[in-house]
């Protein structure tokens, strides 16, 4: 339900995530909702760091607004992995609360599988008013949180429309200086253009030897080049020797 989205819901969820109440004396602490430990190679995190540091983020009140969307042309190009890597790098580098939002409702490999979460409840359920907002701590980082997509049901477009019409991301901005949004792929999903409105700056993921150049051009057309902060070439494994590449 649209009217279910209230500022209070968001604040409660954020507060629960960022400021968990200590267990009363004599009671065992209730564990926060956590992902399984994220295990990514340091070099991968470093490349993700390189990607987000190249993005010219905008300013608001003299402070950088780091809201970054991650998308690709089609599924299977490494968008989700890189989104997680960028969120981890941002959280580790800034030490500030970082939120990773899953808005790709149709992904076959969602956060639930990658991070070992229960699929529901999630963002979709919250948008429907079926459950409270669920923020999951991304272990081992204390300041990184995940907003899983949940179960989109049969009409994800309606949910995306509701999400884009809401000011959820704006509300998160006050608590999470770093927000990474895993957007749906632009050419696979009909509502991807709608979802891309969630982020001002977008990184497009292309996969070496898989993404078609024509597809990438279409993505640029759909997003508008002014919003694309850059392209990340994933799974880059050139066969040409390095010295020859340098010559060219």
């Amino acid at each position: 339900m649209a009217d279910a989205i209230t500022e209070q819901d968001v604040e409660e969820a954020v507060s629960a995530a960022l400021r968990p109440r200590p267990a009363p004396a004599g009671f065992a602490a209730i564990g926060r909702d956590r992902t399984k430990p994220i295990s990514m190679p340091p070099w991968f995190i470093d490349r993700c760091r390189q990607a987000y540091l190249s993005v010219p983020f905008g300013d608001r009140d003299g402070q950088q607004e780091r809201v970054l969307g991650i998308t690709s042309a089609v599924h299977g190009e490494g968008k989700t992995s890189i989104a997680i890597g960028i969120a981890v790098a941002m959280a580790a580098d800034t030490g500030e609360p970082t939120l990773l939002v899953e808005s790709d409702f149709a992904s076959s490999v969602g956060f639930d599988q990658v991070l070992g979460l229960n699929r529901a409840p999630g963002l979709c359920g919250w948008l429907e008013g079926a459950n409270p907002l669920r923020l999951v701590q991304a272990v081992p980082l204390e300041n990184a949180f995940v907003l899983p997509a949940g179960d989109p049901g049969t009409d994800p477009t309606r949910l995306i429309l509701r999400l884009t019409n809401s000011d959820l991301i704006d509300k998160f901005r006050s608590s999470f200086p770093n927000i990474v949004i895993d957007l749906p792929p632009m050419l696979d999903i009909a509502y991807s253009s709608l979802a891309s409105r969630l982020a001002e700056r977008i990184l497009v993921i292309a996969r070496y030897g898989r993404t078609m150049m024509d597809d990438l051009e279409k993505v640029m057309f759909l997003l508008g080049r002014e919003r694309v902060a850059g392209v990340v070439l994933n799974d880059y494994k050139p066969k040409t020797p390095g010295w020859l590449r340098r010559l060219l």
Partner: protein
């Protein structure tokens, strides 16, 4: 004078004025900050992103560092200039630009990307190309070497100086300072340079049935032209060598070459003998006429000054002179008759003389199984031909591969920077 517009197209201001460039730079907000694209006298700044949809037009023009004609400068650009307070830059050029187009303006960059693409395909499927472009040509070339092994034909001639025959001092056209072998090699070298020689050789090959068709004949003659050599192996020994495709051809070529050389020698000597014979016949005729005149003069003198026989004629200078003239004329006639006989003998016996002077010591023999130059050329041609499928396959794979493999291609075609290259999670990147 900070502009307040929202740019939706890529605009570049090109100016030679540093002050103008500084003004443009200072008038932009952080998001719209200008970025120099090239150094040098011409300052190019990208002020904002390009308009959607307009990009392909720019790209198709070849874009880059060349300004569009004024007719193509869109109204919004002019409007931008007015609003940016850059009206005074009329002396400079104001035009649309694209970041991407600018970065790949030159044809060199495009060709480098194309080369990268094909190199990538080549190294990606290196096993296939090793087989197709290296293995297959090697096999084909090796097979060609084996199948078209050439034959080396050799013949040796013994050349004598025919001066032992008194009438002939030296052979026709010989240099007296060279050995007989050297003279023969010189003659042979010149002979095998003539078209007539190859016409006669080709005719001989066809007449003897060594070659079956004119095309084969042409191939054989082409091979022979590059491989037939004559060398002096001593003062009198001449070695003839030729590389052919078959034994009969080698044998026939050498046999015919020797025969043609001998025929040429005989013909030359006969022609020279004919000329000499005509000369001596003419001289003999004159000498005989002169002889008859002297005899007649002597007889007239004796008739007019009779003297009894058995009486010694007293000293008579005129009588002695006439008698001497007759004797000289007779001697001259006799000398010329001798020379003429010698020439005629030489002419008649030229064939026998040359047969003796130019003896075939080792008749044409052929050794097979060698990689002659003809064989090597054929093997190289076949190997090159065998590499064609591999190259065609490379071109085909490169043509059908429309995936992204080169970050520079993204920057060039899309006009957006590649901010990171991430290797495969399955393997540690280099």
């Amino acid at each position: 004078m900070a502009p307040t517009w929202t740019m939706s197209q890529t605009v570049a201001v090109m100016s030679r004025s540093p002050a103008l460039a500084q003004h443009v730079r200072g008038s932009l907000s952080r998001r719209q900050r200008c970025r120099p694209l090239s150094a040098g006298k011409l300052v190019v700044y990208v002020l904002a992103r390009e308009e959607r949809g307009w990009w392909p037009d720019v790209q198709s023009r070849g874009g880059g560092t060349q300004a569009l004609p004024p007719s193509n400068v869109r109204p919004e650009t002019v409007d931008f200039r007015r609003r940016a307070g850059l009206s005074h830059c009329a002396a400079g050029r104001l035009t649309h630009y694209s970041e991407g187009v600018s970065s790949l303006a030159s044809g060199r960059a495009a060709s480098a990307r194309l080369m990268f693409k094909y190199l990538e395909v080549l190294f990606r499927y290196w096993v296939r190309f090793a087989i197709l472009c290296v293995g297959l040509p090697l096999i084909a070339g090796g097979a060609a070497l084996y199948a078209f092994q050439g034959k080396d034909g050799t013949a040796q001639l013994w050349v004598d100086n025919p001066s032992y025959i008194s009438t002939i001092q030296t052979a026709a056209g010989w240099n007296q300072y060279l050995t007989p072998a050297q003279n023969t090699v010189d003659a042979l070298d010149q002979l095998i340079l003539t078209d007539t020689f190859y016409q006669q050789l080709g005719q001989a090959l066809i007449d003897t049935g060594t070659v079956k068709s004119s095309s084969e004949n042409g191939q054989v003659l082409s091979d022979v032209k590059g491989s037939l050599t004559a060398t002096a192996s001593g003062s009198h020994l001449v070695t003839l060598k030729v590389e052919c495709r078959t034994v009969p051809v080698c044998t026939q070529v050498l046999t015919t070459t020797i025969a043609l050389h001998r025929a040429w020698l005989i013909q030359t000597e006969k022609q020279q003998a004919d000329v000499a014979s005509q000369l001596y016949t003419s001289q003999l005729q004159q000498a005989k006429t002169h002889q008859q005149a002297t005899i007649d003069a002597f007889n007239v003198y004796v008739s007019s000054h009779p003297y009894p026989p058995n009486v010694i004629r007293p000293t008579d200078p005129e009588f002695d002179r006439l008698q001497s003239d007759v004797q000289q004329a007779q001697t001259q006639v006799s000398d010329l008759q001798g020379k003429l006989q010698g020439i005629q003998f030489s002419n008649d016996a030229a064939a026998q003389i040359d047969e003796t002077a130019l003896r075939l010591i080792d008749p044409p023999t052929t050794s097979g199984g060698s990689f002659t130059s003809v064989t090597k050329k054929m093997a190289a041609a076949i190997a090159a031909g065998a590499a064609v499928p591999g190259i065609a396959y490379l071109v085909f794979l490169g043509w059908i591969d429309r995936t992204i493999r080169n970050p520079k291609e993204i920057e060039g075609r899309i006009g957006v920077r590649v901010v990171a290259l991430i290797g495969s999670l399955a393997a540690k990147p280099s």
